[in-house]
Symmetry: none
Subunit: 214 residues, 4 copies
């Protein structure tokens, strides 16, 4: 009887003879000296959009939060549990990251749920419904535009949500102050999955554009 899914044990063996073998001194140094990632990525849980794969990064490079639909709630020092805010505080205040990237993606299940609020809750707790209600006003507005196709509404809300999360990042005093001092950059990105396309948010206009790749 195994205590871990067999696929993961097999994968771990590949890791040890492959990547770990090649980067063992880096892992050892990272253990000894601690992590100093320059960048925090807030990404979705989706199995098709792992930031380390898409940005081809190695150990120690990205501090990664992953929640459904890569959302950042607004600053709310109310004494409740705030998973994402805790990670943000740790990255900015303790690790002193220099960049925060909110990375969304196409075909996001959380966004789809936000666009179909009339659907029955998945469970009596309705955690998804509550969580996605963070973007409910935008979802309502987008839903009403029946001249856009379902696919277009989905992509529209995915990108609106990224801008919304970046705006919420600025409600955290520590983020606002450091960004104003030029010591922290905030970025948005959107990955389409199918063609592997990455779209980067233009900080001035909010538009998502293909980066120029030579």
């Amino acid at each position: 009887m195994t205590h871990l899914p067999e696929r993961l044990l097999t994968g771990y063996r590949s890791f040890m003879t492959g990547r770990y073998q090649a980067e063992s001194s880096r892992y050892r140094a990272l253990a000894r000296d601690g992590q100093e990632p320059e960048t925090m990525v807030i990404a979705c849980c989706d199995s098709r959009a792992a930031p380390e794969a898409i940005f081809d990064t190695g150990p120690g490079e990205l501090f990664v939060v992953r929640n459904v639909a890569n959302l950042v709630p607004p600053y709310a020092p109310d004494g409740e549990y705030h998973s994402t805010s805790a990670a943000l505080e740790f990255a900015v205040q303790s690790l002193k990251v220099r960049n925060i990237v909110v990375m969304g993606h196409g075909r996001c299940g959380g966004i789809r749920a936000a666009l179909a609020p009339e659907a029955a809750p998945l469970s009596p707790g309705d955690f998804i419904g509550k969580w996605m209600s963070l973007v409910a006003p935008a979802a309502d507005t987008v839903s009403q535009n029946t001249m856009m196709t379902a696919g277009e509404r989905q992509t529209a809300l995915e990108r609106i949500s990224i801008r919304y999360s970046i705006a919420n990042l600025r409600t955290f005093p520590c983020v606002k102050i450091l960004e104003d001092k030029g010591r922290l950059t905030l970025s948005g990105a959107w990955f389409d999955i199918s063609g592997g396309e990455l779209w980067v948010m233009n900080r001035e206009t909010g538009d998502f554009e293909r980066p120029e790749i030579d």
Copy 2:
């Protein structure tokens, strides 16, 4: 001026000429057919412990939540925002994953914070302090054993926390029911970073053991 950290743009170029090139048909199929990951991993944000690297998995394989110290709060249908519970609900009810793995790691900054509750909050909101208070009773008990070294106390709490999160998973009715029916497995794992060692929780005893790798 670039709108994304330069390192990420460079990495993305590597992805497109490397991994995406090799797996484009898989990405296209995953976009067309949707994701069907068999396994959900609840991992830490730490930059040194990306589950896709450690388990050498490709796109579509792991649905990944990452929060500070890979914690699962207990089931609380109280109408508040619950990032991790929302992801859990989505994975179990909508994606119907067959395995959930809670993966902790050595030298965890969140666990370190839990063992030093007297330290000043990182910010007025004290999100980390509140979040880590989920394991405060265990942290208190572990802290009192001054015959263990600081490193040993840290490892002990890291492992206790994984068992605690697995116990909390079972407070979610959907998890409990499916596990009882044999349709969902819960696992714990702990990655040491330095030597690349993975320790797997024995489901009967709760002990963390090295898997036998031929």
Copy 3:
């Protein structure tokens, strides 16, 4: 009728045609010139943790004390019989060893007994109970942490005991003086039996760590 267990006679024959054959000149020299071991090892009686096997040493290399749970009692010049203190005195004062290593191991029966003091004594003399009472305060503290598994409590006490024995070594004036002069080193090690892993105590922190083996 044989006067020695048959297995030992067979083994002795193998020794004579194998190891002794290969090292007879070394044995002869050691007999003629006397032993000059550089290292004293204080190990457990356990049949699975012979220091000469684990350190692959030959005749003349290790001066070895073995008692239950590799304990060193504190310095007590009270005129009683002190088996371990006598061996220590002989190694340090007469043989002038340069290193003392306290070597513990996993699944130690003595430590298990210390964690279950309510168990009935093995004999009316209760020698094990008395002997293991040397670590009773630590055993009490560890036992109270019921959030650790039985296996984790066992490992924790095994390692605390090694640090305790090393601290007791320093209560012997001859050890303290020579260590302060840099003429004697004290080390701790822990052998896991199952995977053959050796963990070495970091002298600064007291933590047990895997030595880096290229």
Copy 4:
């Protein structure tokens, strides 16, 4: 800076690539199922007389106590710390060994000390002097026989001590009872170091004889 003598680290590497490699399944089984050694050996700390080498035994075969001059004190349930008695109790009552072998050897430093009681104590605690006083009456008698050479007196006391320890074993009720029932054998052996000769005590006469080796 290393935390373990370099020679031991080197030796451990040899162990892992040699003996452990060859016997890993045995080590794993011994860890999983626990030790069940058939034989307890009470041997000297001397670096030239490791029982596992002389009897060519593998992991799990011998439960080994090692103290200066392989002495067994008489049964004394007085509430003091008795290292050897604790090991004896554990071997007989808990592990239920079937054989106990007291193994002495030539050129024993402890026996030499017992024959020179007028020598200054090695330390103010005089732990060796006290410990070897267990055989003081025999040492006195042997010393008075000035017609024997110093070497002959040494060998004589080494062998007398083995018989004395075997007699003391029988003062432990559990040993006496099991031996009388035929469930425990007591043996004596003496190893000469130089020529690799093993002498076995004849249980009827007490004489030490060469075993017949084909």
